[in-house]
Symmetry: C2
Subunit: 329 residues, 2 copies
Amino acid sequence: MQYIGGIDIGGTKMAALIADRDGPLVRISEATVKLGTERAPAEQAMTMLKLACEKAGITLADLGAVGVSSCGPFVRNNGFIELVAPNICGGIGNRGDLLNEWQSVPLEAVLREHFSTVVIQNDCVAALAAERAFGALQNEDNCAYVTWSTGIGFGLCVDGRLLHGKNGNAGHAGHMLLTDQSQAQCGCGNFGDAESLASGRNLEAQYGRSPADLFNAVKEGDVKAHAAVVHAAKWFGRALYNVTATLDLKVFVIGGSIWHHHGDWLEPIVKEEICAHMPALTTGVQLIQPALDSHVADIGALYLVMPEAWLIYWRSQSLWQRVAEVDLA
Amino acid sequence: MQYIGGIDIGGTKMAALIADRDGPLVRISEATVKLGTERAPAEQAMTMLKLACEKAGITLADLGAVGVSSCGPFVRNNGFIELVAPNICGGIGNRGDLLNEWQSVPLEAVLREHFSTVVIQNDCVAALAAERAFGALQNEDNCAYVTWSTGIGFGLCVDGRLLHGKNGNAGHAGHMLLTDQSQAQCGCGNFGDAESLASGRNLEAQYGRSPADLFNAVKEGDVKAHAAVVHAAKWFGRALYNVTATLDLKVFVIGGSIWHHHGDWLEPIVKEEICAHMPALTTGVQLIQPALDSHVADIGALYLVMPEAWLIYWRSQSLWQRVAEVDLA
């Protein structure tokens, strides 16, 4: 095949990409649609993919396969993957700000109306696959990709193999419960899970300021803001400790906007919390930066369906050098 | 090969076994030695294995390979596995009742003085392998073996593959932290991990009675004892929920003395705690009984080194029918 498509569905933004043997060609992004019928986000992805094809001078029929990285969790309906993401579907969880009543989004069914080869993976699993193929985790058998941003998600790799689980939901460790004493509620409904204690969305809910404002206040010497962020970092570290105890991992690549902007001073706090427990498991655990940029999940989506023969070409260059990028938001 | 040896090392008891193509022949068990040099438990295993050979009418030299299932965690020293188990090594963790100062037990090094083929796995991983080969988890791709007894341990299987991790310590989810508000301390030093909140040893430490006494009191209508056990069951369920969120598992086989004796009435409590969160991940999760008996980790130890050609014979019969069993304790 000559061209492949990629779709990256997040709770806030969606991206569509076209790539060929030498890497991505076009990237279009837009705010994720959360109104209309349950099919709306999937149809939005199709519309964006069509537009991306136009930009690349091809048609949808030229795409040999489409890879999708998406926020989860997933359920299966007649064998097809549907999204039951608390940050998109207003009919589940506790997010009163979502103005739809969707129980799920029939993602795979809609895409299969147009393509015969569709591969859908959790976005952090796809990001992990990309970091292992092209980035910071080549030759690393026991590792994870963690995003610390609006939500907290994990892609997990043990003994050299990515973990999927019964419905492709392995890695939802952001919804692991860390305390029974918290009033902080996650989008999924949980009280006291890692995401409710440390994610950007929940920092905002708890402290009444956006993460950006909160971190600005820290920079300006606001003691309360500093304490709030340190508190969140400790919970984040505790989640990483729990994953280490469960899976005996060695390296965590940490992405997402919070870490991207503040990882330099948050790292020692997170590391200390991990290493405060079970030295037999935690000694030598490493926290490292992603080698791919913030579009790592996009590369992951494409990687899911790219021919193996392309690997050598993609590895040999800066992946984004040729990309025509359009943000419709 | 004609004969294989198996060793099962627990914090309380140790077992040595001899088996041939048709299953186990001899099983010898004894309290685990915790005095002397750091080599003592490994040398005890050798002595017991020698005795088991005598009972079987063979010598150590007749054993083609030795499989070991052992409580962990493990570390590697010059590539050889050593035990750093808090319930055996008095030099680590917080168990004041251990009268040795061991930092680790050089298990593999001692065994390799006698055998060229030695395979060592965490006991719950070995038990899981056995349940998948001969027991309740045949054809189950996303599952775990959990022991709820003196300690709490997991063997994990995702996408049809057992998980090992960087040092073979995957499955130490019993040491995952579940609350920051607990005074209950685990043998590993953690406060508020699953084992500190729900294991037999920690129930004893918290309530001043042995688990057997505590459960007897429940039967006799003691309201406080009942509340204590229900509390422990909820924490145990929460640990299972966290593992489900992390790995998207479908079936948990639960072994260990607490579940073995009281699983019938504890199951709904544990199940309710799991299913109270993230329905997309927890709906349909099953808790089932082990098909192998309480010696499942012994069978696991043997399975680690048994020739594949023996599988069909072992599957065709009741595994313990021929066994000469001796308890030296």
